[in-house]
Subunit: 152 residues, 2 copies
DNA sequence: TCAAAAAATATCGCACGCGATATAAAAAAT
DNA sequence: ATTTTTTATATCGCGTGCGATATTTTTTGA
């Protein structure tokens, strides 16, 4: 009846679906490391720069503390990271990789390649338009601004 | 250290982020209707064709029954749909819109337009490449095949 | 016909995500 | 110096998502 309510015209549904399916394909690869996809994201942030407050990690991943805090607690329980109050600013909690968390980077190096290999297509990456990354980054930037404006 | 483990090189992270942010922007629009985004998706499927078995809805949304079943139960509790065993095939459960579920389509018509309006950008849609939909559909098709192959 | 396989749905457990709200510490304002 | 505001993190509750598995019904095959 209303074309704007057809599933085939929904942009968000496509992103929702691609995100879910990609995460499902990640699952067996990350399971062998004993981590989930959001935990993998946190580790990537820390591998780039260790010793960060919770809020910096949250901002980098565009997640809120109500998601990040329990996530980090689980990672601490699993021995991947340590959480410690900042000496100079008692509000901040600094997150640091443990030896286990640091060593996992070596095992994770093969994950991106294995992901591509496991996708049933002769050339998944090559079939994507060259400019897909900037398009997505523009979208994220616009959406991020919108959400920030909403929460004011 | 390893470029393949940099967040800025992650395709999946971008889809994950766009999906989450878009859903957050949907939230206040759908809240006024009393529904969530996944429930909105189920309703769109039923508005296109009422009276469908659970599995058809699940396939359409590329979700599994362990997600759809509780979702449908909540929607039944909220008086949006009815679930009834199929007479001819006792395994199937047929999902039908209630009057409330049907009437909600009229209220939902404005949601897509209001979503665009609420996004902080002069021309969000116009700044997307013309061929973004087929690209996404190709991705979904490839990923769907991969996940199906995984579960064999 | 009758056991075995397949199909459809459901249950269980756990990890997110996030709106709403609370708590604690630091910074700013009066 | 004290109150107010802001910042950083955490808690609570609920709704997904999904891997693993179970249940029920139908279909298939020997």
């Amino acid at each position: 009846m209303y074309p704007q309510l057809k599933l085939e015209n929904q942009l968000c549904f496509r992103f929702y679906t691609v995100s879910r399916l990609l995460t499902q394909i990640y699952y067996p690869l990350l399971k062998s490391l004993g981590i989930t996809y959001p935990q993998y994201l946190v580790l990537m942030v820390l591998w780039e720069a260790d010793h960060q407050p919770v809020n910096d990690i949250a901002k980098r991943l565009l997640l809120n503390t109500n998601t990040i805090t329990p996530l980090l607690k689980r990672m601490e329980t699993d021995g991947l990271i340590k959480r410690k109050k900042d000496k100079t600013d008692g509000r901040k909690v600094i997150v640091t990789l443990t030896k286990k968390g640091k060593l996992m980077e070596e095992q994770a190096v093969s994950v991106p390649d294995n992901l591509i290999k496991s996708i049933t297509c002769s050339d998944f990456v090559g079939s994507l338009p060259q400019d897909i990354f900037p398009v997505l980054d523009n979208m994220i930037d616009t959406l991020r601004q919108t959400v920030e404006t909403m929460n004011e």
